[in-house]
Subunit: 161 residues, 2 copies
DNA sequence: TTATTTAGGTCAGCCATATTGACTTAATTA
DNA sequence: TAATTAAGTCAATATGGCTGACCTAAATAA
């Protein structure tokens, strides 16, 4: 049976090969987030601030609730980070049409920081994938997409309609 | 000049497309680590314990120093996590030939937990990539590899020689 | 052989990010 | 009018990092 499997199963489905992928994910993700972390540190911010700035910057306006469903953290967790960003004028809050909701948007200061942080990561990826051909890049994107849980695929699709 | 760029630059190097990759990385990595987290929680362990168990399990034996260079955390940080795993008999410590060093290895209990945790992630990846063809998978791996900083590429190569 | 470096450990304090639970207010909707 | 929803807040707790200071024992270099 083991021999049969060896004949029928492609090499890349071997446990050893898949463990390599696990490690690739670990190392690559860690190095990917390391760049912005240095800038954030100078401002006494952390990765959580980056995520908030990123997703607030992505839409013209976003409510607290929408932000929470993207980030999947509790509102108590978001609260601390978000209030710091509001107090230091990176994010502007205004009331929505539904008076219960609030709309968040980046200020000019916020956009500048967002740009500074994202540029690092965008350049990093651009410099890598420019050396690859489209099939490789498509494989990369498609497999990453499939690694997302179905519920969250919807969220990804929504914000990238 | 902008028009010229549009003619010469492939679509996948557009900022918008690269931002999608940033988000794919965020969502996929988060969902990828979510599985083991649930099991770890029952044991009052966290992701840090998982990483230690994973990399101790990978080699027949590993020293503290080697583990530290892989994980890139301080020895104070490692200490707490590692001592819990030793105390609860997931990891066994013995003295190396160089009497200053210590060799870490998984116990049977440790191997069982390692297997339980890794199986979740291995199956997840296997179920995804079995639906892809080799060029896609190669693109995925190659790009992930290039996202690792050069110093750490060496580490990845070493542990996968 | 003495001096230096290396591997490992420890104590103390601090910070960031997350959690749960309980409770409140104001606005919208059934 | 009652129920639900969006947002906020207080308090306690856990995890996973960090810095700095300091120690021991063993190996290696001068």
């Amino acid at each position: 049976m083991a021999d049969l499997n060896n004949l029928l199963t492609p090499l890349y489905l071997n446990e050893k090969e898949i463990r390599k992928i696990i490690e690739l994910l670990f190392f690559s993700y860690r190095d990917f987030t390391a760049g912005p972390d240095k800038i954030l540190e100078k401002l006494s911010f952390g990765r959580a601030h980056h995520r908030v700035i990123y997703f607030v910057g992505k839409q013209k306006k976003i409510t607290i609730k929408e932000l929470l469903t993207i980030l999947q953290i509790t509102k108590q967790s978001l609260s601390r980070v978000l209030n710091q960003l509001i107090k230091e004028k990176y994010i502007l809050v205004s009331s929505g049409n539904d008076k219960r909701t609030k709309n968040l948007a980046l200020t000019k200061k916020g956009m500048e920081l967002e740009n500074q942080l994202s540029t690092i990561q965008i350049n990093k990826i651009r410099n890598i994938i420019k050396n690859f051909k489209e099939p490789d890049i498509n494989g990369f994107k498609k497999i990453l997409y499939e690694m997302i849980e179905d519920v969250n695929k919807n969220k990804f699709d929504e914000i990238n309609n």
